[in-house]
Symmetry: C2
Subunit: 259 residues, 2 copies
């Protein structure tokens, strides 16, 4: 059946995350409702992952199958006409029939944004964590370096996550400052529940001088959630990118690959 | 009496503008309620102008008088502790006793932000006007040039404004593009009600090829509101700066001047 990848950008402030649940509006429910008229029947959309309430995305990927082989631009426009303005289909693309947004993904990139100045920025309240005391970014960078590589990230996942393994490989964990904005960027083959937010909470404690930078390595080795810092609030987190094998992204060889 | 200038940044989405009115929450009401405990009595805050519902500010200026000579940093912190996160006092400063946010102002700078791409950006729905067809920025720039100088801007004000004169001098009217973001910047000695939004609506019609760039000059000369374009929506407008004579900004010569 014709399979489509949908690249979604959303302001997560008003939503209970991607995945359908009993309470709150979810992005999945909105997308599935917007897809149904194209099929004339309910359509299931698979997401590249959950995403917590209040978390944002610049390029969340969902996949779906439609009986008729619509032009991808038609799918994009039809969905955008039905979705609210804070959820947009940036791109729709015909992909290989065995493409699945979650199972085909080989990695993800997240950013966590911190507004670090005494006075908060009213335009960042929805998109950043306001931390008033000055952060030592060099210390945070040193602490973040310990995350890179293959590690058991058990100490940085929410209790009761119940995944098969908590071993993940991170390719990148950088901390940069541009004016008052401190930005953590992490790339890896997968992330546990609340993992980036727990990493951020720990790095901020390092940045405030409450922990030494060496702590991150010790916490990883301990495997104890209690050893890590608090979970940073959701509004600073943005899913920036999802990685897929190139072969799965094109249904036809002349399709442009820009996912 | 000790007089203070308050530099406010606010996300105007949730508010009915600066000025107190019967319906809707206003920034003025919030600021005056936050000032009252410092004085132990109601305090009047004068704004540098109105600002429509939904319009934003990076540096709106208000002035107030307090009986006791508080340290300016104390005033800033006390207000920020009471104001909602989408309204912030960026700076408070003791100023000359005859300083008045509105009557002392010698000019203002506004920006109008347009998101010009087929697909809207969910992070810009509150802060930009989404215009989907491509805009000819060179034509808009040519049209905007006619606004610079001393003109009767009657054709660009809302009917029923009732100001003494509609002659204003603009020092700058630039249109620039950075990716999908098209930005109009206007500086001048004063602005009429809805003036920047009516100018923007007209420039967008030029950018879409519906009017020639020469139209702006002809509209100014006609003095007819009906000749100009539609009024652009409020969420793209940001008050960026208010100008004051330097002498009024400092109550003491060693005060830093950063307004």
């Amino acid at each position: 059946m014709p399979t489509y990848a949908l690249v979604l950008a959303f302001d997560g402030t008003a939503y209970a995350g991607w995945q359908r649940q009993r309470r709150g509006t979810t992005i999945q429910a909105l997308v599935e409702e917007a897809l149904a008229p194209l099929e004339g029947a309910p359509v299931r959309a698979a997401g590249c992952g959950r995403t917590d309430a209040g978390v944002h995305a610049r390029a969340f990927v969902a996949s779906c199958r439609l009986t008729r082989p619509f032009d991808a631009a038609v799918v994009r426009r039809a969905l955008n006409a039905r979705l609210p303005a804070d959820v947009r289909v940036v791109e729709a693309r015909r992909v290989a029939d065995d493409f699945h947004a979650r199972f085909s993904a080989t990695g993800k990139a997240y950013a966590y944004r911190i507004w670090n100045a005494e006075v908060g920025d009213p335009f960042e309240t929805r998109y950043a964590w306001h931390v008033a005391p000055p952060l030592d970014v060099a210390a945070m960078r040193e602490a973040a370096a310990a995350f890179v590589g293959r590690h058991d990230f058990r100490a940085f996942q929410s209790t009761g996550s119940g995944v098969a393994t908590s071993v993940r490989t991170l390719w990148k964990a950088s901390v940069t400052r541009e004016g008052a904005l401190v930005r953590l960027e992490v790339d890896g083959d997968g992330f546990l529940r609340h993992m980036v937010r727990a990493m951020t909470g720990t790095l901020v404690e390092v940045g405030l001088g409450r922990r030494p930078p060496e702590d991150t390595r010790a916490i990883l080795e301990s495997g104890q959630r209690a050893a890590a810092g608090t979970t940073a609030p959701p509004q600073g987190l943005v899913l920036e990118k999802v990685y897929y094998p190139e072969g799965l992204l094109a249904a036809a060889p002349d399709d442009p690959v820009t996912l």
